[in-house]
C-alpha cells in the first residue's frame, strides 16, 4: 500500500508538484543544516566576533549604523594608523557592512530589537544557507539529472572548505562574497543559455554587489571574459553570447566603478584589461559575423585574417604604450605572488607573513574537501562528454581555481564551489545509473512495437545496470562515502574552524570547560582605565582587535596599507630600548601591548612572530635591523641564556619576559612554548613600566614612561632609583654646554 501511495505521489501531474514540494523541503533542510553546522562556536562560547579582520568589519558596521551611510562613506578614521589616519570609507569594500546595516534597519523598522553584534555574528551562516540555494540553481543549469543540484547544494552547505570562512562570528567579506560569486555565475550561465538582456543585467547587478563586497571580484572579472574567449576560439559565437556579455560588461563595469575603493581601476588596471579586451574582440567578431553575410567565403577569410592581425597588433601596442606611460597600472604585487610563490617572500614580506597567503599543503585539500576532491576530476571529465557552453565554463573555472588554490591557502575558498558542482555532477550521474529501477515496461513496450527488424540487442537497447547485486554494492559504497563525508565535515568544523581565537578554551582536570579570556580582559582594562585617546602600539595583528574591543587608537592594524609604518613598529620592537624610546615618543605611544604565551604554552605569541617583525623592519632599515643578529652563530632562534645579545636587548624580548621569572622558584623559569629554560635574571626595563598583565600572562601592557623630571636618561634614572652607585668618572667636569643633538 505504501508503495502505491508513493507511486501516486511521484507520477503524473500531481507527482510533479509533489516532487517540487519535496525539492523545496530538501533545499530548506539543506539550508538549515548549512546554518546550524556553523553554530558550534556560538553554542560552545557565545555570540562573539572572531579573529582579527571581522573586528574591523564589526567596528565599521557599528559606525555605519550609528552615523548613517553618508558619514560612513566619508569616514576618515583617526583612531587607526596614528598619526596618519586612514581614509576608511574610501578604502574598504562596503558590501558587507551595508548588508548588515540594511538588515539591522529593517529589523528596527519592524521594532525587533536585535543587537547589531548578533546580526554580524549570524550573517555568515545565514548567507551560507543562501549559497547552498544558489549552488542548487547553478548545478541545475549544468545537468539534467534531478539529483545533481540537490547534491551540490548539500555539499556546498557543509564542506569545510567553505565553512572555514563562514562560521558564526566569522564576519568577513567572504561571508557574503561566496554567495554572490556562485549566484553571479548562475546568472551568467543563465544569461548565456537564454541570451536575454534581463539575465545579463541581473548578472551585472550581482557582479556590482560582489565588487562592493570582496576584492576577489577580480576572479569573476577575469573568468567570464575567459569563458567568452574560449567559446569564441571554439567557434561558438552566437548572438546569445554577444547580448549577455556586452550587457554584463557595460553595466557591470559601471556598477563596479561606483565603489570608491575600485573607482577607475576597471579601466586603468591590468587586472581588468582582459574583460575590456574580450569586449572589443566580441565587437569585432560580431562585426565579422555580420560582414560574412554579405561577402563570399574566400575574400572573407582574407579580410578576417588581416583585420585580426591588425587589431590585435594595435591593441597590444596600445596596451604596452599605456602601461609604459602609466595610464594603466601594472600588475599588483599580490597578483605577482599568484604566479611566483616565492615572489612575496622576497619582495613583500608583509604579504608572506600572513599564514593564509602561504601555498597550500596537499593534505589540506583532503582536509577541506574530503572525497569531493577525488570526484572533482571525474566531474570535469563528465563536462567534456557533454560539452555545452556552460560545461566549458565549469572546465575553465576548475582549471583556474585549482591552480590558485594550490598557490594560496586562502583561495581554497574559490575552488570549493566548482568542486561541489563537479562532484555533484559525477555523483548524480552514478546515482542515476545505479539507483534507477530496472527499465520500465514503458520502454520495453515501445521497443516491442518498433516495426523495424534488426538485431535484438539493437532493437531493444537496454542501457543500464540490471544486476541488483552491483547496484546494491555501488550505492551502498556511495552512501558510506557520503556518510563519512558528513562525519568528516562535522568533525573538521567542530575542531578546526569553530574557535573564535579571541577566547581560548581548555579543559580542567575534571573535564569541565575552562575559558581563557585574557585578550578581552586586557582589552577591556584598556577600554575602562586608560584615557580615551591613549595610543597603543602593538604588532599589526592586534590592531583591529584593539580598535574593536579596547576602543583605543593604534599605530598599525591588519589593513597593512603602509608598509613603512609597520616596519617602524617592527623596528621599535626589535631594537634596543635606547633606539626604541625615541620612536615611541615620536609616535605619541602611551602603551605597548605584547602577546606572550610562555606561561600557558600558547604558541601564537609575539616571540614566535618576532622574526617577521625583524624581516619587515629590515626591509626598510637594512643597516639598523639585521635578521642574522637574532640567530645564534649556530643559526638557532633561541630565547634562553644562549640567546644573542641583540635578541636579549630587543624591546620585544624584554617586554615578553619582564618579571616572568618571579613566578617560578629561583632559576626555574621556563618558557612553555619554546621549551626553553630562561635566564635567572629578569630583563631590566628602563623606558617602560609594566601597567597590566592578564591573568594567564597572554597580554602584557606596558606604559611608556614620560621624560625624566630631572632630564636624566631613563637608564641612569632607573639605576639611581635602584640605588646603584653612580660612577664618579662618568660625571663630566667643566663648563656646562648646551646639548646639541
Amino acid at each position: 500500500m505504501a508503495e502505491s501511495s508513493v507511486d501516486v505521489l511521484l507520477k503524473g501531474g500531481s507527482g510533479r508538484s509533489a516532487r517540487g514540494l519535496l525539492r523545496i523541503i530538501i533545499l530548506v533542510t539543506i539550508a538549515a543544516a548549512a546554518v546550524s553546522s556553523r553554530l558550534f562556536s556560538v553554542i560552545r562560547f557565545e555570540s562573539i566576533i572572531h579573529e582579527f579582520d571581522p573586528w574591523f568589519n564589526f567596528r565599521a558596521t557599528k559606525y555605519l549604523v550609528q552615523n548613517g551611510f553618508y558619514e560612513f562613506w566619508d569616514w576618515f578614521d583617526d583612531r587607526t594608523w596614528h598619526p596618519l589616519g586612514r581614509v576608511t570609507g574610501g578604502t574598504l569594500y562596503p558590501g558587507l557592512m551595508v548588508t548588515s546595516g540594511v538588515i539591522y534597519h529593517v529589523l528596527r523598522f519592524l521594532t525587533i530589537p536585535v543587537d547589531i553584534r548578533n546580526i554580524c555574528v549570524l550573517l555568515a551562516p545565514g548567507f551560507s544557507g543562501l549559497t547552498a540555494l544558489a549552488m542548487y540553481l547553478l548545478t541545475n543549469e549544468m545537468s539534467s539529472s534531478p539529483s545533481a543540484g540537490l547534491l551540490a547544494a548539500a555539499f556546498m552547505g557543509i564542506t569545510p572548505g567553505y565553512i572555514s570562512r563562514s562560521v558564526a562570528g566569522s564576519y568577513d567579506n567572504e561571508a557574503i562574497a561566496i554567495f554572490l560569486l556562485v549566484f553571479t555565475f548562475f546568472l551568467w550561465i543563465k544569461a548565456v543559455k537564454i541570451g536575454s538582456i534581463m539575465w545579463g543585467a541581473l548578472t551585472a547587478l550581482f557582479y556590482g554587489y560582489m565588487v562592493s563586497a570582496w576584492g576577489g571580484y577580480v576572479f569573476i572579472t577575469n573568468l567570464i571574459p575567459l569563458h567568452v574567449f574560449v567559446l569564441l576560439c571554439m567557434g561558438r559565437y552566437s548572438s546569445r553570447l554577444y547580448i549577455s556579455y556586452t550587457t554584463w560588461y557595460a553595466l557591470g563595469t559601471l556598477a563596479s566603478m561606483q565603489i570608491p575603493f575600485v573607482g577607475f581601476l576597471p579601466i586603468r588596471n591590468s587586472d581588468h584589461m582582459s574583460a575590456l579586451g574580450v569586449f572589443g574582440l566580441l565587437q569585432l567578431v560580431a562585426f565579422a559575423e555580420f560582414v560574412r553575410g554579405f561577402i563570399p567565403g574566400k575574400q572573407f577569410q582574407r579580410l578576417l585574417t588581416a583585420s585580426i592581425i591588425l587589431t590585435s597588433g594595435l591593441a597590444f601596442v596600445g596596451l604596452v604604450v599605456l602601461t609604459m606611460s602609466g595610464v594603466i597600472a601594472p600588475w599588483s604585487g599580490r597578483f605577482y605572488s599568484l604566479w611566483d610563490t616565492g615572489y612575496a617572500k622576497i619582495h613583500i614580506p608583509i604579504i608572506a607573513s600572513v599564514s593564509e597567503h602561504q601555498p597550500t599543503a596537499w593534505p589540506s585539500f583532503f582536509f577541506d574537501l574530503n572525497f569531493l576532491i577525488w570526484l572533482f576530476p571525474a566531474g570535469v571529465y563528465i563536462c567534456f562528454r557533454d560539452l555545452k557552453d556552460e560545461h566549458v565554463f565549469v572546465i575553465i573555472y576548475a582549471v583556474l581555481s585549482s591552480y590558485f588554490a594550490g598557490v594560496m591557502v586562502r583561495l581554497m575558498l574559490t575552488l570549493t564551489p566548482i568542486v561541489c558542482v563537479a562532484a555533484a555532477l559525477v555523483l548524480s550521474y552514478i546515482l542515476d545509473i545505479y539507483l534507477k529501477a530496472s527499465p520500465g515496461p514503458v520502454t520495453r513496450g515501445r521497443s516491442n512495437e518498433d516495426p523495424s527488424d534488426g538485431l535484438r540487442s539493437a532493437r531493444n537497447p537496454e542501457v543500464g545496470i540490471s544486476s541488483y547485486f552491483s547496484k546494491a554494492v555501488t550505492t551502498s559504497a556511495l552512501i558510506v562515502y557520503l556518510l563519512m563525508f558528513v562525519a568528516h565535515c562535522t568533525w573538521v568544523t567542530s575542531n578546526a574552524y569553530s574557535s573564535p581565537s579571541v577566547v581560548l578554551a581548555s579543559r580542567m582536570p575534571d573535564g569541565s570547560q575552562f575559558i581563557i579570556d585574557d585578550y578581552r580582559e586586557a582589552y577591556y582594562w584598556l577600554r575602562q582605565n586608560t584615557p580615551a585617546n591613549a595610543k597603543i602600539m602593538s604588532w599589526w595583528d592586534y590592531g583591529y582587535q584593539i580598535g574593536g574591543m579596547a576602543d583605543r587608537p593604534t599605530l598599525v592594524d591588519n589593513n597593512t596599507w603602509n608598509n613603512t609604518h609597520i616596519a617602524t613598529v617592527g623596528k621599535a620592537m626589535s631594537s634596543r630600548e635606547e633606539v626604541s624610546y625615541p620612536i615611541l615618543r615620536q609616535h605619541d605611544v602611551d602603551y605597548v601591548l605584547v602577546v606572550f604565551g610562555g606561561l600557558l604554552g600558547y604558541s601564537g605569541d609575539d616571540i614566535n612572530k618576532f622574526l617577521w617583525m625583524v624581516r619587515i623592519a629590515e626591509g626598510i632599515w637594512p643597516d639598523e635591523v639585521k635578521e642574522r643578529d637574532f640567530f645564534t652563530p649556530k643559526g638557532e632562534y633561541r630565547v634562553d641564556d644562549q640567546a644573542t645579545p641583540t635578541m636579549r636587548n630587543s624591546l620585544m624580548y624584554k617586554t615578553s619576559y619582564y618579571n616572568f621569572n618571579k613566578l617560578f622558584p629561583m632559576g626555574q623559569a621556563t618558557d612553555r612554548v619554546r621549551g626553553a629554560r630562561l635566564p635567572a635574571e629578569s630583563p631590566q626595563l628602563s623606558t617602560l613600566e609594566e601597567a597590566f598583565t592578564s591573568e594567564n600572562w597572554i597580554i602584557r601592557i606596558y606604559k611608556v614612561k614620560d621624560l625624566d623630571n630631572f632630564g636624566r636618561d631613563h637608564n641612569s634614572a632607573v639605576a639611581f632609583d635602584r640605588g646603584n652607585k653612580r660612577k664618579k668618572a662618568t660625571k663630566k667636569k667643566g663648563a656646562r654646554v648646551l646639548r646639541s643633538e
Binding site: 519592524l110 521594532t111 525587533i112 579570556d517 580582559e521 582605565n529 613600566e689 597590566f692 598583565t693 592578564s694
Partner: protein, 505 residues
C-alpha cells in the same frame, strides 16, 4: 458578525488609544523653593539633646541623629530645618526623618530647600505632620548616608599595602538651632585607628575610646552659636574597596503574554579606594590571591537574586564575562550570582557591565480587584550586589516597562516601620514615556524613576506600580501581526498576478 465587530473595535483601539493615555501621577520634581543667600531659619526650635551615630563600617558614612526638639516659639510650628554644609548637601543619600517614639507612623515629608549661591549651608525642610505645640517636645530620628565622604590617605598605596581612609566632620553637629547637649559616636570597622583628632572641648579625654567605638562629647553647647563647627578628622584602616556605582540603569520589563518579569541592570562601577602607587603587578596579585590576603581591589561581587530567578547573564561591552557563577535557589534560599569583573578593580579603576535575569511574573503581579482591568505590580526598587563593604550609587535610573497600552500609571514606594533607604517621594523624579520593541505598534508605557545618591541600604525597598490594562490591549499585537502578514500575502499575490511581459499574448 461578532468577530468582525471585535476586529473593528480592536483596530479602532489601535488607532485611538495613543491619544487616550492618561499621564496620571506624573510627579515631576516640583521646582524647589530657592531661599535667599543670607537665609536663616527662624529660631523657633531648640535641640534639647542630640546624639549622632556615625557608622564607618561601609564604604560610605552612615549617620543616624536622634534629637529631642522643643518648640520655643509661642505658636505651634511645623517646619524643622536640617542644615548641611553646601559641599555635603548634594551627597546626602536616603534622608529619612521619623518620630523616634512612633516609628511605625512612617516618615515625615522632607523637602530640599536650596539656598541661593553663595552660601555655606543648605537646608532640608522637615514638615511635621502635626504642628508641634508651643514648648512641647518631639524626638526626631534622622538617618542618612553621606556618599563619597571617605577619602583614602595616602591617596596612592602599593598593591600589597593596607588601605586607610579619612573621615572629616564637625565635632559640633551642624544644626540650624541651638543645641543644649550633644555627642557623636563613631563606629569603625576595626580597632586600627592610627590617627584621630583630639579636642579640648570638654574636660577629660576626648574622644573616649572603647574598642572600635569612639565617642566625641558629650558637649554642653548651650552657649555655642548654631552653625559653629569644630573640624575633626579620623583616619582608620579599611581593607575593602569603596565600591561606587556612578550610574545604575535598571530596567524591569513586564510581559503579560509571557508571564515574565525581565530585569536588566547596567552598572558603571568605580573603586574609590586608594590608587596604585606603581602599576598593577600580576605577580603580586597572584601571590596575594594565593595567600587570600585582604585587598582594596574589587575581586568578586555577590548578588543574591530573588527565588526563582532564571537565565542570568553577565556581560559587558565586549561580550560575555566567563568568570561568573550562578547558584540557583534551592528550597527557600535565595539564588546567588557570584561574579568577578574581568580584572581586579583597584582604586581609581572603572568597570562597567550588565546583568540580567528573568522571573516568573505571578509573584509580582496581581489584579487590584478581581474582574477589573487594574493591576498592581510590586517589585524591588533596588537590588544590587550585597557586600559587607556596602555599595553607593551616585545615580539610579529605574525604568519599569509596562505592557503596551497600560494606562493610569501610579506608583508608590512601600514604607515600613524602619528606614527603607530611599529618600522621600519628593526627591524621586518620575516621568512617563513610551518604548517600542518587539513588534509594538504604539510602544510600551515606561515609568522612569530617577534618584540620586543612594546606598545599598535601599536594597530591600519595594515599589508598587498600579496600572490599567484591558483585554483588548492584550490582543492588539496578535491582531496586528496577523493583519500585517495577511497584507503581505495579499500584496504578494496581487503583484504576482500582474503580467508585465512584452510578449504578444
Amino acid at each position: 458578525m461578532r468577530p468582525f465587530a471585535t476586529l473593528v473595535t480592536a483596530l479602532c483601539g489601535l488607532v485611538l488609544s495613543s491619544s487616550s493615555i492618561v499621564y496620571a501621577e506624573s510627579t515631576f520634581a516640583s521646582p524647589k523653593p530657592l531661599l535667599p543667600a543670607d537665609f536663616k531659619p527662624p529660631q523657633v526650635f531648640k535641640n534639647v539633646n542630640l546624639v549622632r551615630n556615625t557608622n564607618l563600617e561601609k564604604g560610605f558614612a552612615r549617620e543616624t541623629i536622634n534629637v529631642v526638639v522643643e518648640n520655643v516659639d509661642k505658636q505651634p510650628q511645623s517646619d524643622y530645618y536640617l542644615s548641611f554644609p553646601s559641599d555635603l548637601f548634594g551627597r546626602v543619600g536616603g534622608l529619612e526623618v521619623r518620630d523616634k517614639k512612633e516609628t511605625e507612623k512612617g516618615r515625615f515629608e522632607v523637602e530640599a530647600a536650596e539656598v541661593d549661591y553663595p552660601s555655606d549651608v543648605q537646608y532640608f525642610v522637615v514638615h511635621l505632620p502635626e504642628p508641634l505645640a508651643s514648648s512641647s517636645q518631639i524626638t526626631l530620628g534622622i538617618s542618612y548616608s553621606l556618599l563619597n565622604s571617605l577619602h583614602p590617605r595616602p591617596a596612592a598605596i602599593e598593591q600589597s599595602d593596607r588601605q586607610f581612609l579619612t573621615y572629616s566632620f564637625s565635632a559640633y553637629v551642624p544644626s540650624a538651632y541651638q543645641t543644649m547637649t550633644q555627642k557623636t559616636k563613631l563606629k569603625f570597622p576595626s580597632t586600627n585607628v592610627p590617627d584621630y583628632t583630639t579636642t579640648d572641648l570638654k574636660s577629660g579625654e576626648d574622644p573616649e575610646r572603647q574598642g572600635s567605638t569612639y565617642t566625641y562629647g558629650p558637649y554642653d553647647t548651650a552657649k555655642i552659636e548654631p552653625g559653629t563647627s569644630h573640624p575633626v578628622t579620623v583616619r582608620y584602616e579599611f581593607t575593602k574597596p569603596i565600591i561606587t556605582a556612578t550610574l545604575l540603569e535598571r530596567d524591569l520589563e513586564v510581559s503579560h503574554w509571557g508571564g515574565n518579569l525581565a530585569t536588566e541592570e547596567r552598572y558603571w562601577l568605580r573603586n574609590n579606594g586608594s590608587k596604585l602607587l606603581n602599576h598593577f603587578s600580576r605577580v603580586d596579585w597572584t601571590v596575594a590571591n594565593y595567600q587570600q590576603s585582604p585587598s582594596s581591589a574589587i575581586r568578586e561581587l555577590k548578588y543574591p537574586l530573588k527565588q526563582g530567578s532564571v537565565d542570568p547573564y553577565f556581560t559587558d561591552d565586549i561580550g560575555n564575562v566567563s568568570t561568573s557563577h550562578y547558584r540557583p535557589s534551592k528550597g527557600n534560599r535565595e539564588a546567588n550570582l557570584e561574579f568577578k569583573p574581568r580584572y581586579p578593580v583597584f582604586g581609581g579603576w572603572n568597570y562597567s557591565f550588565r546583568l540580567g535575569w528573568n522571573n516568573d511574573l505571578a509573584p509580582f503581579l496581581r489584579r487590584a480587584a478581581s474582574g477589573t482591568d487594574s493591576y498592581a505590580l510590586k517589585v524591588p526598587f533596588l537590588e544590587g550586589p550585597k557586600m559587607a563593604e556596602g555599595l553607593q550609587y551616585e545615580k539610579v535610573v529605574l525604568r519599569v516597562i509596562l505592557p503596551e497600552g497600560a494606562r493610569n500609571v501610579r506608583y508608590e514606594t512601600v514604607e515600613g516601620s524602619s528606614s527603607n533607604g530611599l529618600p522621600s517621594a519628593g526627591q524621586i523624579q518620575s516621568s512617563l514615556s513610551s518604548h517600542k520593541t518587539f513588534l509594538d505598534t504604539l510602544g510600551r508605557t515606561v515609568l522612569t524613576l530617577a534618584v540620586e545618591s543612594l546606598t545599598d541600604e535601599a536594597r530591600d525597598s519595594q515599589l508598587v506600580v498600579t496600572y490599567d490594562y484591558s483585554f483588548w490591549e492584550g490582543i492588539r499585537k496578535p491582531i496586528t501581526i496577523t493583519a500585517g502578514l495577511f497584507s503581505v500575502f495579499a500584496a504578494a499575490w496581487a503583484i504576482g498576478n500582474i503580467d508585465v511581459s512584452i510578449k504578444k499574448r
